[in-house]
Amino acid sequence: MSRTQKHWWIVPVVALAMANADESARAAGQDDKAAGGVNASQITAITALAEAAPRDASQAAAPAQRPLAQDATQPDTDFPIWFLKSTRLIDPRLRPSAGIRVPRVSPREGGPLLFPNFPENDPGFVGGQTMPWSIRGSLGLFSVDRERDSSRFQEYRDVRDGTTAGLEAHFRDNRSVFNLLGRQLGRRDQDLTMDGALVGKFLWSAFYDETPHTYAFGAKSLYTGLGTNVLSIADSIQLDLQNSTTLPQATAKLTDYFNQQGQSFDASLRRQKTGVDVTLLSAYPFALKAGFSNESRDGTQLASASFAFYDFSEIPFPVKYDTRELKVTAERARPESRLYWSATYRASDFIDRFQTLTFDNPLRAVDSLGTYTTTFQRGPATGALALPPSNTYQEGSTSVVIKDLPLRSTLNALVSAGYLRQDEALMPFSTNSAVTLSSTTNPSFNATDLAGLPRRTAKTAMNTDTVHVRWTGTLTPKVHFNQQYRLYKLTNHEQPFEMLMFVREDQDPRFPETAGASYRTVLADFTKHTSTSEISYDAPADTHLSATYTFERMNRSFREVAWMNDNKAKVAVDTRRFGMLDLKSWYEFTNRTAAPYDNNQYNDVQGNPVGRPILPLLRKFDEAAYHKHEWQGMVTAYVNDATSVSGHVELVGTNYTDSPFGVLWDRRHAYGVDVTYAPSARWNVFADAGLERVQYEQGARSWRAPSPASAAAPFAPEPGFDSFSNWTALATDIYSSAGLGFEFFIVPEKLRLNMQYTYARSDGQEEFTSPLGTSAADDTNLFVPLPFTDVDDTVWHTFNPEIEYTLSKQVSLSAGWHYEKWRSADYTTDGFVNVNNYQTFFPFSTNANGLAMETGGFLPPPYRVNVLYVRMKVGF
C-alpha cells in the first residue's frame, strides 16, 4: 500500500479543514487571496491535483497582510492533526549511544516515517489525534544482578533492581507549545526538562538534572568524619604506630588496624543542576534571553596527601560545591537585515562550603619535626589541605555580524572581557606545632600562626580578554576568502606571594638553597594571537578546494620559554560527486619555533637563583619546538538507497626537533568505518568499527646521586645528551571498538526485534631502554629495563536484545536482556594492597622507605552484569 493510498482519509479531513478555514477567514473580513488561503475550488484541487488552481506569486503576496499562511496552517483550524510523536530515547543508559547509529539513508518511499532503526514508536508510539495533548508514560521493571560488583558499571548511571519511569508530554495549540520529558524518574540519574512558548512572544525552558559520579563501592578507610572536613584516626592507633620500633612493625600494626577497624564506604558525587531560561521575542527584532542555573555537587571524592616520600594516605575529602550562573543576552536579529548584534553578561559564583581539610597522620600522635625522608618516626600528627577556593567570574561580551559588505562578505566580531576573582582566607603554613625552625633571614617564622603569612587572604585575580574578528566573502564567483584574527589574553593581577620559607607536607621546613633568596608564587600570564587566512575555490562537481595559513604566537610571562610561534599550512578538499560520494580530506603541517630556554626562570621559581636542578636539554612538551603533520580523510559513499559506507582516517605525527629529553616524537593513527544497510522498512543493519593507535617516545635521565647533599652531581658530570643514565620509554596504546545493530520487524508495525552489541578494548604497553654502563660510576641507573605489558588494559562488551510488541497505538510492551562485562589490568593496581610499605627510590638511604594507606577506590574491580527488564509504554 502506498503512502498516498494509505492515507486516503486525509482528503475529507483536508476538505473539512479548508472549509473551516475559509469560514474563519471570511469571519475575519479577509478574502481568500488576502489571506493567502485556499478557497472552495481548491478543495476540489486537492482531490484532483491535475485540476489544481494555483495562485501566482503576486496573488500570494498582495496585499501583505497577516496572516499569510496557507489554510492548512491557519490558526483556529482543526487541520491537520498533530501526531506529536517523539523520537527521544527514553532510557539511553543501557545502550551506549556513542556506539551505534541509525542508518543515514532516508527511508524508502512507503517506508516508515522515521529512520527505520528508530521508528515512530520509539520510545512510545504515535498516537494520531486531534486533541492538543499527547502524553506518554513508560514504566520499566528492572532486575539487575551483581549491580554493586563494581562502581564502574554505575559510574554515571543508576541501574539497579526496581522500577524506572519515563514521562513525556506535549501540548500544542495555535498559540502555545509545551513539552516535557522526564527520564529515569526516581533514580539518581533522573532528569526532567520542560519547555514551552507563547508562539512569537516568548520561549521558556526549565530543567532539573541529576548525574551521579560513582568513584568506588566499598572503599575502605580508617578515617572517621567522612563527609566533613575533619578526618580523624583514633589517638590510640596513632600512638601505637608512633611507638613502633621498626618500619615492618609499623606496617604490620597499620595493616591490622586497617583490616579490623577500617570502615567501608562508597565514594561518589551527586550532581544536581536546576535551571530556567526565558527568551522574550515580542520586541522583535530584539530578543532578550535570561537564564539562571544552580549546580550543586555533594559527596565524597578521593585524593592522596603525603607526609613524606611514600608516607601518603588516601583521603576521602568532602565535596560541597555550588555553582550559580546568571546569563543575560540581548540580541538584535532580523533575517533580512545586514546587522546582527548581541551583548551578553554572565556571572558565575562558585561556592565551596569547605575551604580546608585536616586529616590525621596515621603514623604520628605527637607533632615532631620531620624531613622529606621521614617515616613513622617523625612528622606531624595532622595534616591540612587547602580545598578549592570559592571564586567569582564575571564576563561581558558583545558581538556583531554585518552581512552584505563589499565582496559579498560577512564580518563578525566579538569583544569579551572576563574578571576572575578569588580572595579566600589563607591557612597557616602548617599544622605542625613542632616546626619552629627559623632561618637567619626569617627569625620570626611561625608555621602555625597566621601572622607568619605575607598576607592573610589570597588576593588572586585574573582578567581574560578576547577579541575575535572574522571576515569571509567572495573574490570571484568561485573564489572565496576567510580572514580571522583572534586575541586571547590572560592577565594575572595577583601580587606575588613572596616568602622566605615554607613547610612542605606539614613537616619539612624549606629554605631557599641560595642565601638571601626567597620563594615566589608562580603566576600564569600569557597572550595568544592567532591569524588565519584561507582561500578556497569552487571547482566543478560541488568540489571545494581550500588552502589555509595560520600564524599563532603565544607570549608568556614567568615561564622558561617566553614565546612560541606556530606556522601552520593546510590544504583541504571537499567534494560530493554526483551526490553519492562525500569526500572530505585535509592535510596540515605545523612548524613550531620557540624562544631560547631560560633556565633562570625555572631556578627563580625554585628559589635557587644559582640553580642547576633541571635536566639540561629537557624541553617541556608544551613549549618545545616541533614539526607536526596531520592528515584526515573522511569519505561516505551512498551506494544505493539502502546502503551507505563511511570511512575515516586520521594520521598525526609530531617530531620534537630540539629536545633530546622529554617527548621525542608521537604518532596517532585512527581509522573508522561504518556500514548501514536498510533494504526495507522491515529490517536494517548497522555496523561500525574503529581502531586507534597512539605511540610516543620520551627520554629522561635517571638520577642517583651518592647522597642528597651532592644533588648537584647528577648532571654536572654529564651535561650533554649522552649518558649511560639515560632512559627512553616507548609507550603504545591501541584502542579498538566495534558496534553492531540489527532491527527486524517480525510482524510489521507490531512485533519488533532489536539487538545491539558494542565492544571496546584498550591495550597499552610501555617499553623501556637504557644503555648499560661499565660501572656504577658511569651508570647511575640501576634499573634493568622491563616492559610493562598491562597499561590500563580494558575490555568492555555490551549486548542488548530487545523485543517489543505494539498492542495498539496506545500501548506497547517490550522485554529485553542487557549484558555488560568489563575488566581491566594495569600494573599500577595489579597486586594492590591497602597498606603498603613502599621501597624508596633512594638506594643510598635505608630510612627512606614509606608507609602508605590507601582506600582502594582508585581502580574499580571488573564486573559482569545481567539486566532483565520489561517495559510498558502507555499514551493517549
Binding site: V14, L49, A52, P54, D56, A57, Q59, A64, L68, A69, P75, P80, T87, R88, P92, R93, P96, G99, S304, E314, Y321, A333, P335, A384, P388, P389, N391, V401, R408, L420, W471, T472, P477, N482, L490, F497, T521, A572, D582, L615, K620, F621, M634, A670, G690, L691, A700, S702, W727, A731, A760, E766, V784, W796, Y827, T829, D830, Y838, A852, F858
Partner: protein, 379 residues
C-alpha cells in the same frame, strides 16, 4: 534599506565586475508588483555580466526591486529557472522554481507528500502565529519554492524544478535556504565557521522532515557527530570518559557546531573557560598556579575519553615526566633491587612513583593550590 543595497550593488557592478555575485537575488520590496517585472528568468550561475546588469537595471527600473546581497550560496540557489521571486513582504529571499510557477499551498503538497507534511506540522516551522516561521509565509513552499509547475506536471522528481535538499544539490544552495531565517542565537556565526568552510550542509545533520529532537538526523548528538568524527566515537567508548554515552552530556555541552569564535568550535572564549563552566573548582585563580594547567586543560586531558584515568592523554608518571625531569626529585622509573630485578613484589607494591596515583599520590593539588605551603602542590 533595499534601495540602498541596490545602489551598492550597481556601484559594485560598475566598478569591478569580478566582485559581482554570480546571481544576485532580487527581492520584492513592495507588494503590488507583477510577474512582468521579473528580471531573472532563466538566469543561471554562469550567466554573463551583461545579462546580470541588464536584468538588474530592468528590475530597478520597475521600481519594485530591492537587492538583497544574500549569503554566499544564495545566488546559486537562485540560479534555478525562475519566474518572479516570491514576495511576502518580509524582504526575505525565498526559493524560486520553474518559470511561471506559483504557490499552491501546503494542503496541496500534503496530498502526496503526507509523510513530509506531517513531520513539518510536528515542529516549530509550522507555527503560523510566529511571523518568522515558514508557516507564516508559504508553508512548504517557503523552502521548496512555488510548486504549481510541479503539481501540473503530476509531481515526480525534478518536475517543476522545486528546490530540494538532496545531496546532489550544491551545499551552498541548500544552506542558503536555511540561513535566510536562522541568523540568530547559535547560528549567528555560521559564516566562515569551520563547518561552513568544509561545506557541511545543514541537512547533513538536520532532517527537517522526520528528524529527532532539534530535528537531528540521528537520535542523539553523539550518534550524529560521530558519523563523521569517527575517531571520537572510539574515544567515547574508552573507560575514562565524560557521561556522553549515558546521554547526560551532549556534544553541544562543549561545542557549537554552527560556529564560534573559539578554536575547535568550543562554545566559550577558550577551552579552559569551557571546562571551568562545570569544573569551577579548578578555576582559581590559585595562590600557586600550575601554568600548563592554566594555559590549556588539553595539555594533560583528552576530553573525548581515554583509557588513562582521569582522561589523561598519557599515563602517569610519563605524563608528568614530559616536563619534569629534575634533580632533587626522582626521574627514575622504578626502583628495583640492586641486582636490577624485582624483589618479588608486584610493581603496585614496589614503586610509589608508579603505583596507584603515581605522582599525584603526593602532588595532590596539581591543578593549583591555595595553601601557603602549596608550592609543590602537596597541600
Amino acid at each position: 534599506m533595499g534601495s540602498e543595497r541596490g545602489g551598492t550593488l550597481i556601484a559594485a557592478l560598475s566598478s569591478c565586475w569580478y566582485k559581482v555575485p554570480s546571481i544576485p537575488v532580487p527581492t520584492l520590496a513592495q507588494d503590488n508588483h507583477t510577474a512582468e517585472c521579473s528580471t531573472t528568468s532563466h538566469v543561471r550561475g554562469d550567466m554573463t555580466l551583461k545579462m546580470i546588469v541588464f536584468g538588474w537595471a530592468a528590475a530597478i527600473a520597475c521600481g519594485v526591486v530591492s537587492v538583497s546581497a544574500t549569503p554566499r550560496g544564495a545566488e546559486s540557489a537562485s540560479s534555478r529557472p525562475s519566474q518572479a521571486p516570491p514576495a511576502d513582504g518580509s524582504g526575505l529571499v525565498l526559493p524560486v522554481t520553474a518559470a511561471g510557477a506559483t504557490y499552491v499551498g501546503s494542503a496541496v503538497c500534503s496530498s502526496c507528500h503526507y509523510d513530509k507534511f506531517i513531520s513539518y506540522m510536528n515542529q516549530p516551522h509550522s507555527q503560523s502565529l510566529d511571523p518568522r516561521t515558514p508557516a507564516a509565509r508559504f508553508g512548504c513552499e517557503s523552502c521548496h519554492g512555488p510548486a504549481s509547475a510541479h503539481v501540473e506536471a503530476g509531481g515526480g522528481r525534478k518536475a517543476g524544478s522545486l528546490m530540494t535538499f538532496a545531496k546532489a544539490v550544491p551545499t551552498s544552495d541548500r544552506n542558503a535556504v536555511c540561513l535566510q531565517c536562522h541568523t540568530r542565537g547559535a547560528t549567528a556565526l555560521w559564516h566562515g565557521s569551520a563547518h561552513d568552510q568544509r561545506k557541511v550542509a545543514c541537512t547533513d545533520c538536520h532532517a527537517v522532515h522526520g528528524g529527532n529532537h532539534k530535528l537531528l538526523a540521528q537520535p542523539t548528538q553523539q550518534q550524529l557527530c560521530t558519523s563523521c568524527h569517527q575517531q571520537v566515537r572510539t574515544a567515547l567508548l574508552k573507560t575514562s570518559h565524560h557521561p556522553l554515552r549515558e546521554d547526560k552530556m551532549q556534544c553541544t555541552s562543549c561545542h557549537n557546531p554552527h560556529g564560534t569564535q573559539a578554536p575547535r568550535l568550543i562554545a566559550a572564549n577558550s577551552i579552559n573557560d569551557k571546562c571551568y563552566e562545570c569544573h569551577a573548582e579548578k578555576r582559581g585563580p590559585f595562590l600557586w598556579e600550575h601554568p600548563p594547567v592554566r594555559e590549556n586543560c588539553l595539555n594533560c586531558h583528552d576530553a573525548h575519553g581515554s583509557s588513562h584515568e582521569p582522561m589523561l592523554v598519557v599515563k602517569k608518571p610519563l605524563l608528568c615526566q614530559r616536563c619534569h625531569s629534575n634533580a632533587l626529585h626522582p626521574s627514575v622509573l622504578y626502583a628495583l633491587s640492586p641486582a636490577g630485578q624485582p624483589t618479588g613484589k608486584p610493581l603496585a607494591q614496589l614503586a610509589p612513583q608508579l603505583a596507584y596515583r603515581a605522582c599525584t599520590n603526593c602532588h595532590v593539588t596539581n591543578h593549583g593550590s591555595n595553601h601557603p605551603s602549596g608550592k609543590f602542590w602537596h597541600r
